[in-house]
């Protein structure tokens, strides 16, 4: 039962979701919405597991004074402060909103802004023309970048840039997308039919 139960359950739900996509039958669509509702319930319940894991992980680190324990302490403080502020003053005003607007949002924006520097360092490594492939990548990259600025338009590179994006680039992307579509379908079939069970644990 431990082995077959989840597989049978997966088969029934998987087939239901698959059939629902191809039929307008209201009964099946209602069951589909039921599954989505249950997903939200399970998701909400597992948030508790997440919080327990977070508190345990960082709590142990603080207790042991492990490497970077001060960051863990800050994480736990944040975990406690945000809900406490929301419960005490409401989420639409007061300290909760202030912390969201002036602490969390700027930190996320800062992380996002760092991407520019990472792009520069990765491009530097990728564009070193050591091989024919790297040289082609460098040439295509330079042409596409120049084609997107006024100087490139002035010398007619915008058309070359558009051609690179619309034909060789798009063809490669479609090749990847076809492979991904097939891979997703095949993996889904394997899971629905119970052939692939690694995600249930090796012993399943």
């Amino acid at each position: 039962m431990k082995r077959t139960g989840p597989v049978v359950f997966g088969f029934v739900i998987g087939m239901l979701m698959l059939i629902q996509h191809f039929t307008p039958d209201p009964w099946i669509n209602d069951r589909y919405n039921d599954v989505l509702d249950w997903k939200q319930i399970v998701f909400g319940t597992t948030l508790i597991l997440g919080v327990v894991s977070l508190v345990t992980h960082h709590g142990r680190k603080v207790a042991r004074r492990g490497g970077g324990w001060a960051y863990s302490l800050l994480t736990l403080a944040g975990l406690a402060a945000m809900p406490a502020a929301a419960l005490a003053f409401g989420s639409g005003r007061g300290p909760y909103l202030w912390m969201f607007d002036h602490v969390q949002a700027p930190m996320q924006a800062t992380m996002f802004a760092l991407l520019a520097f990472y792009v520069a360092s990765a491009s530097y490594r990728a564009f070193r023309a050591r091989t024919l492939h790297a040289a082609l990548l460098l040439t295509a990259g330079v042409v596409v970048m120049l084609g997107r600025v006024p100087l490139g338009e002035l010398i007619g590179l915008d058309h070359v840039s558009a051609w690179i994006l619309d034909f060789p680039n798009l063809a490669a992307k479609r090749g990847v997308m076809i492979g991904v579509g097939l891979g997703m379908t095949a993996t889904s079939i394997k899971i629905i039919t119970g052939i692939e069970r690694t995600y249930l644990g090796k012993g399943a």
Binding site: F22, G50, M107, V176, M177, L182
Partner: protein, 336 residues
């Protein structure tokens, strides 16, 4: 000059692109299923999103009335859903059935003991090297299953690969650290790693604290993974799953710490970043082949072979469709 006249003009190329798009839709039956985002908001597939982008904005309602939903009406003559089948999804249904039949046929062949050749995938061959390197250096392995929830196929594929990686790590008695963005993924990963260590004969190595929940925030998660890299100094990093803008951040930081890096994603927009910053990258479908390739289980190899055959068929259809368009035979109306 005669040859030059036979070359397709922009209109023919557009038709060719439409043929490719329609055939792609045929091939990727499951890809047409709506994706459920982490926030529970249904996202439509790539083609539908592309179509939605070109829709005209809805006219503003009269003052005092609620705005109407910006849903484009179906074009005149478009197939309507009736009875028990959505006729507009019939091609996807046929493609799914055909693909399923091919896969089941090859699974049957594998069951009968047929020898199935699978091409070498460098990124998966390097898993042993990465785990061995971490063992030699006495450092842990860092594994990230991406930013998608458990119901996404890429995450399931990643968890399948995690099982194989953890088993090898268990054989070499090496830790696997895994920060997670979703508690469900964390719970599944804990179970998979625990079972993998047990299968490798070292159940005592499993520490649930190594597979922990970080945060659901995208860049918060990136910060947690980067922090783990800097503090724990893993010798091998695995980024397997669906990633977004944080991919380069993770891969560049891993590169800076000197870890051997194996990435795999089905996100075509993030692939270039991984290719630039990682030692090995599983491109698109290779992500889904990972578990099969590493486990070498005959039944799963059969499924992989069926997938490859389906790809050959799609390629042949694409070539045939392009050829027909070049000679002036347009069959796209049969598919619309």
């Amino acid at each position: 000059m005669k040859c030059a006249r036979r070359l397709p003009g922009p209109e023919a190329l557009t038709r060719s692109a439409w043929t490719a798009a329609i055939l792609f839709a045929l091939a990727a039956g499951a890809g047409l299923l709506p994706r459920q985002s982490a926030a529970g908001v249904a996202e439509t597939d790539t083609l539908a999103r592309a179509a939605a982008r070109v829709q005209e904005p809805a006219a503003l309602p009269p003052p005092g009335e609620a705005p109407a939903l910006a849903v484009a009406p179906p074009p005149a003559g478009a197939p309507q859903s009736s009875g028990w089948l959505r006729r507009e999804r019939l091609p996807a249904a046929i493609a799914t059935l055909v693909l399923g039949a091919i896969i089941l046929f090859f699974i049957g062949r594998a069951r009968r003991g047929a020898d199935l050749y699978i091409r070498r995938i460098a990124g998966l061959e390097a898993v042993d090297e990465a785990v061995g390197r971490a063992t030699e250096m006495g450092r842990p392995i860092l594994y990230s299953a991406g930013l998608d929830p458990m119901e996404e196929v890429a995450t399931v594929a990643s968890i399948n690969i995690l099982g194989q990686v953890a088993r090898k790590a268990g054989q070499y008695e090496t830790r696997v650290i895994m920060p997670n963005r979703f508690a469900i993924v964390m719970t599944v990963a804990q179970e998979v790693v625990r079972e993998a260590y047990a299968a490798a004969g070292h159940p005592e190595l499993y520490d649930p604290d190594d597979i922990y929940y970080a945060t659901q925030s995208q860049f918060g998660y990136a910060g947690a993974v980067v922090g783990t890299m800097l503090r724990e100094r893993p010798a091998a990093n695995f980024f397997i799953g669906h990633f977004y803008a944080e991919s380069l951040m993770l891969a560049e930081m891993g590169n800076a710490t000197g870890a051997i890096q194996i990435a795999g994603t089905d996100s075509d927009s993030q692939l270039p970043f991984f290719i630039c910053a990682c030692d090995y990258t599983l491109i698109g479908e290779e992500l889904y082949a990972g578990s099969v390739y590493l486990s070498r289980e005959p039944l799963l190899l059969g499924a992989l072979k069926g997938q490859d055959i389906a790809k050959v068929i799609i390629l042949a259809i694409l070539l045939l469709g392009t050829l027909l368009l070049w000679i002036g035979v347009d069959l796209t109306h049969l598919l619309s």
